[in-house]
């Protein structure tokens, strides 16, 4: 039905697409460490050595873990398997709350203590009016 040229052009596009997809896949696979925006406390625990460069740790703010003193804010980031204590001084975003997502940027003191220089709130995908939230909590 179609001419030879049409078939060849079709094949050409398919070949380009396949090779590009493979290339991009391999590049992203090898760059995985840099593509992830933050690491979880478990990944921090599994680190072989503590570098001096800036890293990001993300997870949930553990319930009842936020304590505020005059100089610093202290809380625990948890991924429900491992935990890490974070200290920070400065302003936090509005959505920073216990049992909500957080990403802390800063330096590792040791595997249990993280000195944050910046705190970002990570919100989840749930959207609902306050009344619905209250109704859910009552259940």
């Amino acid at each position: 039905m179609y001419g030879r040229k049409v078939k060849l052009r079709f094949l050409f596009i398919i070949l380009i697409l396949t090779s590009l997809i493979l290339t991009v896949f391999l590049v992203l696979k090898s760059l995985e460490e840099n593509v992830v925006y933050f690491q979880s406390p478990t990944e921090i625990k599994e680190l072989s050595e503590i570098g001096s460069q800036k890293i990001r740790v993300g997870g949930m703010v553990k319930k009842n873990s936020i304590s505020i003193t005059a100089e610093e804010l202290k809380f625990t980031i948890s991924d429900f398997k491992n935990e890490i204590i974070v200290t920070y001084s400065g302003a936090v975003p509005n959505l920073f709350e216990e049992e909500k997502g957080v990403v802390a940027e800063g330096y590792l003191k040791d595997k249990n203590l993280f000195l944050a220089t910046k705190i970002l709130a990570k919100h989840d995908e749930n959207y609902m009016p306050p009344e619905v939230k209250e109704a859910l909590e009552e259940k």
């Binding site: 079709f10 596009i13 933050f38 979880s40 993300g58 970002l120 919100h123």
Partner: protein, 235 residues
């Protein structure tokens, strides 16, 4: 195969369509905006900041949709040597680019009060920026080459390169840790968004789609008029 696309016949329809589309767009956007800004409830967590979503999400969706359409049309146009497909792609691109920029800008405005930052280099946001660059390259290509056959080849190549980025944008939030939250709307599983907020989102998406259609028709008519003036009767 595509001989049915006589410019005169198409032009008869497309030259009249914009005024109706504009009317429909005004109706839908006024319903959408009043739903989104006044009648929809505030979020339990973000309160009124959630209203940015009704602009941010539709524009991101439609800019992704337009890029996919441009790619499909360019590839078909390249394989079947159909000039009309390229002209449709060319006319679709500007609204896709604008919506991409709107998605990035509203995302930044939304990020500041919620996340606490205007911009982060996480996978979702960076890949969306890359899409904007591909849109820009696509649009510039139409301007720098005089020879049409060259334009067709180069734009097809750009869209094929860029289309790989589209699934990356979609799944970046699932594959990697990102600051951006995962998708709230899923076809297969339960939506994470309450129905009172889903309704304005859908209406706003329809309004943005109509806006793109309107811009597309205006651009496309210009292309058809150019062909007519050159005295060509077939695309």
């Amino acid at each position: 195969m595509f001989k049915i696309f006589e410019p005169n016949k198409i032009f008869q329809i497309t030259s009249r369509a914009p005024r109706y589309v504009l009317l429909l767009f005004i109706i839908v956007i006024s319903i959408g905006l009043s739903e989104a800004l006044i009648f929809s409830p505030e979020d339990y967590k973000q309160s009124h900041a959630v209203r940015i979503m009704y602009v941010h999400v539709p524009s991101a969706w439609i800019s992704l949709g337009i890029f996919s359409s441009i790619t499909a049309l360019s590839i078909c146009g390249y394989i079947f040597r159909n000039k009309n497909f390229f002209l449709i792609s060319k006319s679709l691109a500007p609204s896709g680019f604008i919506l991409n920029i709107i998605a990035l800008v509203t995302g930044a405005i939304w990020g500041k009060p919620t996340w606490g930052t205007w911009w982060v280099w996480d996978a979702r946001i960076t890949s969306m920026l890359i899409l904007a660059l591909f849109y820009a390259m696509y649009l510039i290509t139409w301007r720098i080459y005089e020879d049409q056959n060259k334009v067709f080849k180069v734009t097809t190549f750009i869209t094929v390169l860029g289309i790989i980025n589209v699934p990356i944008i979609k799944f970046s939030v699932d594959w990697w840790n990102t600051l951006h939250q995962p998708a709230s709307i899923n076809i297969l599983s339960k939506n994470a968004i309450h129905s009172s907020m889903l309704l304005p989102l859908i209406i706003m998406t329809a309004a943005f789609a109509l806006f793109s259609l309107l811009i597309f028709l205006m651009k496309y008519n210009t292309e058809l008029i150019k062909i007519k003036n050159k005295g060509l009767d077939r695309l």
